[in-house]
Structure formats: C-alpha cells, structure tokens
C-alpha cells in the first residue's frame, strides 16, 4: 500500500514539473512597463540590422552583446501581433512558426526588433529599434555549398557538399568525402536553372579516380572527366566547363597566405545526349587562359573570363608575372540547334578596369551580370581586393556593389531563380573564414546590405573555423542521398570521354597528375 502511494506521489510531482515547464515555455514573456531609453541600437551578433530579408527566411536568431542579466526582444511589424522572445545570456532564439506568420503577413513592410535589457540592479533599458525590411519576393528555399576547413584547399580532408533549408536552417549532407575510403575532393556543384533535379558535382578521389557525377531526376552517372568550373546551358542539354592546370603556392608576408594560379586553362563543353566533349577555338586559345564559363538564360551566349599567358615557362610555380595576370570578360554566341559558335567579343577589358574580372553570373531574368574583380589572378577568394560588381546587360554599364562589399574578399556569387536575391561567400567576418551572405537586389539593380546565413544557434559562427564556398540557390532540395552519390563516385563504371586534343591544356579526363596533391 505504501509503495503505491509513493509511486503516486512521484508521478504527481513529475506531472507537476512537466506542466510547470510547459507553462513557463509557452507563457508569453511580459514586456517591461518601466524602462530607460538608451538612445542607440543594441549591438547584436550576427549583424541583422538595416537589412532586407526574404519573407520565407528562417528565424534570424542572434546574440545581444549588451551587458545585462535578462533580455527581451519584441519583434513586430505593421500587421499582425508581434512576438516576444526572452533570452538568457543574450541568446535570442525566435520561435519559427510565429516568425513565419509575421513575415508572411508583412511582405514589403518594415520589421522592428525592440530590445530590452535588464541590468543587475533590476532596471530595464530599451534600445532603439533595429529596423529591417521584409521583401515581397521569396528567396529560393535551399542553398547548396561546399563546407570545409581552410586547410582542405590543399589537402583532401573533411570536404563535403551540403545543403541548408533557408526556411528552417535544417542541413543535410549531399556528398562528403569521408564516404569514399581514402578521402578526396568534392566540389563544383552546378545546377540547371536553380533546380536540384539536374546537377553536376566534381569528385577527385585517391582510389577511384576523378570524375563528375551527373544527377538527372534521381539517376546518377559518372562521367570520366573532372569538370572544373561548370555552367549548364539552360536547356540542360550541355554544360560548359573549364579545364584548369591549377597550382597553389604561398605568400611569405601577405594577409592571405595562399594563392592560386592557372598555369593553363581552357573551356570545353559536354553534350549530354551524345556524351561527347567538344570545344571551340575561341575557348581554347593556346596563348590564353579561359575559365569561368557562364551561360545567359536564353542560352545564346556564353560568357567567360580570358587572360593572356604572361610566362614562358609553363611549369614554374609560381610563374613569372603571376601577379600581373588580369582576366577580361568575354562572350561568344552559340546556336544549340546547329552546335555552332560565333566570334568571341570582349565585354569588359581588364585594361579598362585595371582589375582582373572573374566569375560572371547572369541573373535568370537576363538583365544583370554579377561578377567580381580583384587585383590580379583567377582565384578571387584568396584576394582581399575582390569585390562584387553588377553590369546592366541592356546598357552595358557596370558599377561596384558598394552596398554589399567589404574590405575582405567577396566572391562565389549566385542568383536566386527570381533574380531578386544573391548569395555569395564573404570573408568580412574576420578575414579568413568565408561565410555565406545573402543580399537583396531590386529591379533597378540596387543591392542591399547583406546578412549572414542564419542558423539555429546564434553563436554558431562564433567558434566555427570552417569555410563555406560556392553557395548555389535552388528551389528545391537535392533528393539523392550521400550514399548513392558516393557509391557512384567509387564506381568503376563511367562514361568515357576524350578531351579534344587541340587544346593546350593537359588532359584532365582520366586519372592524371593531380595538381593539388603535388603541393608539399
């Protein structure tokens, strides 16, 4: 009998504790009635102040950096009830459902964060409201990126391609190199028209050779050629890619210790149906370096970067004049029906800009060309001088995106499917670790202050010594699993392709000398 009462008592106590916790969790924290106005905005991290945010973005959880004992944030807009969030130690984690509802109801309106901080003496202070704007246009729901440590650039350890759902911060692995024994490199994920149904991922493995995985509506095939920087023709019938004889070297005194040079490069294109690789003379000039192909949305032009080779010795690393190489922006017309190429023309000359023009990406609506420019060379992520620029393709005018740039490198940019958002890698948070930043670009080509990719934990980036690169926005998730992709990567069955022998670059198709591995 006694035992039964004891059990009942314990049960009741547990139920009481659970109920109290539930009550505490669900009770709306009360706004303080008595407070002092501080007269400035609170410092928060990440910096989510004065930005334009997509209405479908995940909660922008942040840390309040002002000293205090308790923290309360009221988030409100023009329409609907706001929401109030209390946080310990300054950590503000916004409930997702309420956030979503608030943003959805207030497209095009301003969004305010009223931040209250309670001092140890019990007095509350209210900081000036953090004001952001909710855009009318959604952002693509997913971003795919490469995730690795800074050391992985020159050794194949711990590299993976991941995707994150921008609406709820859920992450998943697309392909990670530890899935194939002996490690290797995974990179250069490219999608057709922001759709995850059709994509390419490059793999370099120690034991299974190099190749490119072609994913098409759930089917994976391995092409026996390592595609460099690739770009899909909007029809999905072919992909242009670069072949790069890339070498890495090191600086003794610069802020950035790494540097990269293409000793040689050219552009070829892979035809999916015929499984062949071809090129054009303008894309594989033996005296020039061609790289970073990018198709226009109508598929009529291929933009690319091209620079003259400034050294005699094509094996010396670093080559002479490596810091004088500057790429022009060029384009060439193409007729997919006849598979004919036109004449290449210079769109923007490095001589005119004084800088090296890199990574052209055309907006899906065909109106703008986003690119970056840096002091020299072909790898803007290693150049602190690398900044984003936007060209109006109708007028040919371009300007620096001062709204989005920083004193550190900005690069690896991409567009959302509605041409309103850009994602890019920036080293602005510290100068070493690239993080994905999102920025709104309006119809006139004006960009707005970028913000870092939100995470569930506001302190996520504080001790993260990894880099994000090549963010690509997609409308849906990549459905195919890491297991299937890694099986394909390790497969000996592949589509054999022959690289045209007229190019100046070494064959990158079958397993050859891996430049990355030659670096000591």
């Amino acid at each position: 009998m006694k035992k039964r009462y004891v059990c009942l008592l314990v049960f009741c106590l547990c139920a009481l504790v659970i109920a109290a916790s539930g009550f505490a969790l669900h009770t709306k924290p009360a706004e303080p009635e008595d407070y002092t106005l501080v007269g400035r905005t609170a410092e928060i991290r990440p910096d989510y102040t004065g930005i334009v945010i997509p209405p479908n973005i995940a909660p922008l959880n942040f840390l309040v950096l002002e000293p205090g004992e308790k923290y309360l944030v009221k988030i409100h807009s023009t329409t609907g009830d706001g929401l109030t969030v209390a946080g310990r130690k300054g950590k503000i984690k916004i409930p997702a459902k309420k956030w979503k509802s608030l943003l959805n109801k207030n497209r095009g309106n301003e969004l305010f964060f009223d931040i209250y901080v309670k001092a140890p003496d019990g007095r509350w202070s209210l900081y000036d409201a953090v004001t952001n704007v909710i855009a009318k246009e959604d952002i693509d729901a997913y971003v795919t990126y490469r995730f690795m440590t800074p050391s992985s650039y020159y050794h194949f350890k711990r590299i993976g391609v991941y995707q994150q759902n921008l609406e709820n911060c859920d992450k998943s692995v697309v392909l990670i190199n530890s899935s194939f024994y002996g490690y290797g490199c995974v990179n250069c994920h490219t999608f057709v028209n922001n759709s995850a149904d059709k994509m390419l991922i490059g793999v370099r493995t120690v034991d299974y050779g190099d190749g490119t995985l072609l994913v098409n509506k759930g089917w994976v095939s391995k092409i026996g050629a390592k595609f460099g920087y690739a770009s899909w023709h909007p029809s999905g019938r072919l992909a242009a890619y670069s072949i790069n004889n890339v070498r890495q070297f090191y600086h003794l005194a610069k802020q950035e210790i790494h540097d990269v040079v293409d000793l040689d490069s050219s552009i070829v294109y892979y035809l999916v149906d015929s499984q062949t690789v071809k090129t054009a003379a303008a894309l594989s000039d033996k005296d020039r370096l061609e790289t970073y192909p990018a198709w226009t949305p109508d598929g009529k032009y291929l933009y690319f970067c091209s620079a003259p080779i400034l050294w005699q010795d094509r094996n010396q690393v670093p080559p002479e004049n490596y810091d004088k190489v500057k790429y022009d922006l060029r384009r060439i017309s193409y007729d997919i029906q006849t598979d004919r190429w036109g004449e290449a023309e210079t769109v923007l000359s490095a001589d005119d800009t004084g800088l090296s023009i890199m990574l052209p990406r055309i907006s899906p609506d065909g109106r703008f060309l986003l690119f970056c420019m840096c002091d020299y060379g072909c790898f803007p992520v290693y150049q602190p001088s690398s900044d984003l620029y936007l060209m109006n393709l109708q007028t040919g005018e371009y300007r620096e995106l001062t709204e989005a740039n920083s004193e550190y490198s900005e690069s690896w940019h991409s567009w959302s499917s509605n041409s309103r958002w850009i994602a890019f890698s920036s080293k602005r948070l510290g100068g070493l670790f690239t993080k994905i930043h999102l920025s709104y670009v309006d119809e006139n080509g004006k960009a707005y202050k970028p913000f870092v990719l939100p995470q569930k934990d506001p302190e996520f980036y504080d001790s993260l010594f990894k880099v994000y690169s090549i963010p690509e926005l997609t409308t849906g998730p990549i459905e195919i699993s890491n297991k299937v992709l890694s099986r394909a990567a390790c497969s000996l069955h592949k589509i054999d392709v022959d690289i045209p022998i007229t190019t100046a670059t070494p064959a990158a198709g079958p397993v050859g000398m891996e430049p990355w591995r030659r670096i000591q």
Binding site: T149, P150, S151, S152, Y154, H155, K157, R158, V173, I176, S178, S179, R247, Q248, F249, Y250, H251, L252, A253, K254, Q255, I257, D259, V317, P318, Y322, L429, G430, G431, L432, F433, D457, D462, S463, L464, F465, N482, K483, I519, Q520
Partner: protein, 640 residues
C-alpha cells in the same frame, strides 16, 4: 567472529591482497614510469581524443554508435594531463575490467586460476607501455563487460523475456560502445551455452546479436561513414587502426577478444574437469581428500600460499610481457622531449637528449628540439655540433615533407618565434590536415597568436572560443579573450609586439620555402632578430657555406657578443685555412683550445687522409663533437 589475535593473518582470506598488490603496482608504474601525461604528445596527438565542454560537442558524439563511449574516453584522456589522475583513471578502468572478468568467470580469488582474470588488465598496461592511448578501447570493453555481468545477474528465467532483454541490451550497447557490443554478444552466448545450459540459445544469440548491430548501423543510425560505428573494432580496416603499429593492434585485438576467450577457456576447463571427475571413483576422491588434509594443515596456510603463488605467477607473466611490448626508451624519451619542449623547459629538453646515446639514430625531431633548446639556453653557437647534426637534415626550419606531427608542431613554433608568421600559419593548417581538423589546443593557441599578430582579431577570437571549451587550456583562452576586449590589438603585450617587430613585411611567393632567403629577409626586416641570426649562421654551417657565414660575422656586433662562439671559431679557422684569408674579429679572439684542436685535427687528418674509416675512428673520440668533424664527415655529436 574470530579474534584477530588467534589468527593474525586471517584477514588475508577476505582482503583481496593480490588485486591490491597488482593494481597498486599497476598504478605506480603507470604514474611514475610510463607517465600518462605524455599521451598528449608526439604521435599520440595525431590520434589523441579531443574534448570540449558544451552541448554541441556532446551532441556530435551522441549522434552515432560508439559516440558515448568515445566521449567518455575523450574526457578521461584530458585527465591524463595530471599524471596521478590519468594513472588513477586507467587503473580504475583496468580494475573494473578485472572485477567484471572475475565475476563472469566465477573463479574464486583463492584459486590460482584467478590469475587469468588479470590478463585484460595486463593487456591494458602493455598498450600503455607502447604509448598508445588505451582509453577508447578500454572504456568500450568495460561497458560491454558491465552489461554482460548485469545480464547474467538479472536475466529472467523465462526464455522469451531473456531473449528480449538480450536484444535490448545489445541495441543499447551498440549505441553506447559500437563494435564492443559484440563482446557482450559472445559473453551472453557463452553464458547460455555453459550455465543455463541452452546451447541453441547461445547460437541464436550470436546470430541475433550480429543482426541487431548490422540493422542499427545501416537502418537506424546510418552514420556518414562506416568508420564511426567501427571505432571500437580493432579488426576493421579503418583509418584509426591503420595508423597504429602492428603490435599495438595485436594487443588491442587481444583485449577485444580477451574476456570472451577467458570465459570460454574457464568454462571449457570446468566442463572438462567435470567430465573427468565424474569418471573417478568415489574411493579415489576420498583418498585424495585425506592426503590433501594431511599435507596442508589448516586453511589459513592454504590461503597464504595461494595468494603468494598468485603474486609470483602474475609477476612472472607481467614483467616479461610488459617489458617485451614496451617502447620505453626510445619513444618515452621522445615524448618527454616533446613534453618539455611544449612547456619551453629547455634545460630539461637537453637533459633528456643527453640520456640518449650519442650514436643513436636521430630523427629530425631530436635535432630540431635540440637546436631550439640550445638557442634558448644561449648555447647554440658553442655546442650545436656537440649534439647530433646531420647534413641530410640540414634544413633546420623548413621541410614539411618529412616527420610526424610533433615535428610540425616544433617547426610551427620555431617559425613563429623567428617571425615567419605566415609559414607558421601554413604549418598549423598542415597539422590540422593530418589530424583530421581536430582542434589541438597547442595549435589553436598558436593560430590565435598568429592572427592577433596579423591584426585579424575576429579570426583569433574564433580559435580562442574553440580553445576556451578545452578542459585543460580553456582558462588560458578565456583570459586572452578577456584581454582582447580591453586591448583589441594587444598592443601592451610584449610577445605580440616582439612578433610584430620581427615579422616579414616584404612578400615573396613560394611553393617550397628557401631557408637562406627567409632567414635573410628576417634580418633585413629587423637586424636585431637574434634567433634569425643564429639560425642563419647555423644554416650556413650545416650547409658548409663558409663564405656566406663569414660575410655575416660582422652582425656579431649587433647582438653584443663578447666572444666568438666556439663553433664559429672552428668555422673561421677552416675558412682561413681553405682561402688563406685572415678574418678580422676586432677585439675578439680565437680560443687557444680551439686552435689546439684544429691543429690536432689537421695532424690526424694528414696521417689518415687516405682511409676515411680509420680517420673517423681516430677523430671521433676526441673531436667528434666539433665543427671540424662535421665539416669533414657531415655528422656531429659522435664519440666513436
């Protein structure tokens, strides 16, 4: 209760004397001789289990099978930083495994067979003696043994319920300890086979156990890589295992199968003995018992004899076993050097190197650590060639192609001290690469200092925040973070200011660094960089570039040398002899002893110049620790 007076040693019957003696010796040997604090150093750091406080680190470990046991092992490894505590942890785990083995085998502590229960503990000691961190395997085995004992004690009589309990434990254990669940499977099967006895159930357990583990691995957890679930499996071809030496793997395999093997042996022996006993006649048994009683009067003496025999037997097994598998001399000394080196205890580094026979085969680590210790004790110019130097290892600063992680650490710290900040940064990332990006606390701290020096304060903060979660070094990181709040560029910090004053500011690009070029650039940047000067001169001496050596002699004035260091004197004499040019030394002189040695060298040299072997034998005992010897033979620090 028997009064103690009547039977003064009667307490021996109840006190586990043998285990107390054994584990006391185990603990003391581990603490004072092996030194668990050394597990944080040398190659072990490549496989060292890192630990961070906080939920994210724990969450990672909880997300895959064997994660919890690895987490615990990581935590316990940090305690090895304190030698007495690390030794205590390992001893307690070993004792736990012993007790569980004894419980499973049900051998009385008075029995000589009890010795067999100590074997797993002995294997642990052997692994420790090879300076392999035993904790990840030990913890997994301990957990498996514990669950096995629980199963035996609490399994219900009803067979279906027992099977259900087995499956539950198997699943839970697989999650907790990965492949060590197979130990439980084997023990449970043996229990069913011998003790119930239900042989069919035993066989069923083997099949079910394997199936459960496989199902959980592929169907439930689906780890990103199969390595995660095979972590405690010494048989598998994982990166973890392939990095280990052959004998270490053998010992770990023995530990993995040890307990099931012991139980199988003991139970088979019992079964056999039972069979043989049944065949003896009743009369024979009566006769044997009375003889036994006559020869050994009283259980008291029988008890003392037994534990004494156990001790002797254990000693006979343990001592040669541990000795055979140990790597005390070579590896221990290297670890000690690394230990002192990390703590900048330079006289201790040299004290260790002096215990190593001079003619030993030195690797780059020894040479690096020795030279660095000599520099910091102000003896580099005088005694460098009294220690081992080798022409084929003349690359004092660079050359990441060779050596293990400890040499990378050494070079990283050396480069930073010299002012080669970017090179140190690069080496740090090379180290990360080799350790699968595990946050080694030494490297994290160096990176933080590098980025503070370069003005990348936010990047430095990232590394310091990671380091602040380290159990041992966290407080240091927090202190530095606090200082950065007050003085963001640490302009009042002497060390940082010194680095900023000597770091190279004129760029050059390399694939492979040129030692001469880099050291010269350092001196061009700051001519008072004494370390750069001494290393540059050492570089010229090692590479026999006496013309460049002599060119830089006037720099002695920049550093206020009262006299010319011994080896510099020797090099000057060689140079003057070869070129017939006199070097002006101002107020400084060549010492009389150096002159005498030079004459002796020339005299012996001219006698035996035809036969290098004879020349070596003649010169080594007297002049093997001079630059004269090195210049001629390309080796130094020899005595025979």
């Amino acid at each position: 209760m028997k009064p103690l007076m009547r039977n003064p040693l009667g307490w021996c019957k109840t006190l586990p004397v043998v285990s107390v003696l054994f584990f006391s010796a185990f603990y003391l040997f581990l603490w004072f001789y092996i030194g668990p604090q050394l597990y944080h150093h040398f190659e072990i750091s490549r496989r060292s289990l890192f630990f961070e406080t906080g939920w994210p680190f724990l969450r990672d470990y909880l997300s895959y099978p064997s994660g919890p046991s690895q987490y615990l092992a990581s935590f316990l490894t940090q305690l090895c930083y304190f030698p007495w505590l690390g030794a205590l942890c390992i001893t307690l785990i070993a004792w736990g495994i012993y007790r569980l083995t004894a419980s499973l085998s049900a051998i009385s502590k008075d029995s000589l067979w009890r010795v067999i229960c100590y074997m797993p503990a002995l294997l642990i000691l052997m692994v420790c003696g090879r300076y392999e961190n035993p904790l990840s395997m030990d913890v997994a085995v301990l957990i498996a043994a514990f669950f096995s004992v629980m199963y035996e004690k609490f399994s219900p009589r009803h067979v279906p319920a027992r099977v259900a309990l087995f499956l539950i434990i198997c699943g839970v254990l697989y999650y907790l300890a990965g492949s060590a669940a197979l130990i439980f499977v084997a023990l449970a099967a043996l229990y069913e086979f011998y003790h119930q006895p239900k042989p069919a159930l035993g066989v069923l357990y083997l099949l079910l156990g394997a199936a459960v583990c496989r199902l959980l691995d592929t169907g439930v957890f689906k780890p990103q890589t199969s390595e995660l679930s095979l972590y405690s499996n010494p048989f598998s071809r994982t990166v973890q295992n392939l990095e280990k030496e052959k004998w270490t793997r053998v010992l770990e395999v023995a530990l993995f199968v040890g307990i099931p093997f012991i139980i199988l042996l003991v139970n088979s022996g019992r079964w056999l003995a039972g069979t043989m006993t049944a065949a003896r006649t009743r009369a024979q048994r009566r006769r044997d018992k009375s003889v036994f009683k006559q020869r050994i009067p009283g259980r008291f003496y029988q008890g003392r004899l037994n534990w004494l025999l156990q001790v002797v037997l254990l000693a006979l097994i343990a001592v040669p076993g541990v000795w055979f598998f140990h790597k005390f001399d070579e590896l221990r000394k290297t670890l000690q050097m690394d230990y002192f080196d990390c703590r900048r205890m330079w006289p201790e580094v040299l004290a260790v190197i002096e215990t190593i026979p001079l003619d030993n085969d030195y690797g780059p680590f020894y040479i690096h650590a020795t030279n660095r210790a000599l520099y910091h004790t102000g003896r580099m110019g005088d005694e460098m060639f009294a220690y081992a130097q080798a022409y084929n290892m003349r690359d004092l600063v660079f050359g990441m192609r060779e050596g293990h992680n400890e040499i990378l650490m050494e070079r990283m710290e050396l480069c930073l001290e010299l002012g080669l900040v970017n090179v140190a940064e690069r080496i740090a990332y090379e180290f990360f690469r080799r350790t699968n990006d595990r946050p080694n606390p030494f490297v994290l701290k160096q990176l933080a200092l590098i980025y503070i020096t370069k003005g990348k304060i936010e990047t430095a903060r990232v590394y310091l925040r990671v380091l602040s979660r380290n159990l041992i070094y966290g407080s240091e990181a927090k202190d530095l973070l606090g200082r950065l709040e007050i003085d963001p560029l640490l302009e009042n910090d002497e060390y940082i200011q010194r680095l900023r004053s000597i770091m190279i500011t004129t760029d050059n690009a390399y694939v492979f660094y040129d030692e001469n070029d880099c050291l010269t650039r350092l001196l061009n940047r700051n001519k008072y960089n004494k370390m750069a000067f001494e290393y540059l001169m050492a570089h010229y001496l090692l590479t026999r570039q006496l013309d460049k050596f002599v060119e830089n002699l006037p720099r002695l004035d920049d550093f206020g040398y009262d006299s010319v260091p011994r080896h510099y004197q020797e090099a000057i004499l060689i140079y003057e002899s070869i070129t017939q040019k006199k070097i002006a030394l101002g107020d400084r002189r060549i010492g009389a002893e150096t002159l005498r040695q030079f004459e002796e060298f020339n005299s012996i040299g001219s006698k035996f110049e035809e036969d290098k072997k004879v020349l070596w034998q003649a010169l080594a005992p007297r002049l093997g620790r001079t630059y004269f010897f090195y210049f001629f033979f390309g080796l130094s620090g020899v005595t025979q």
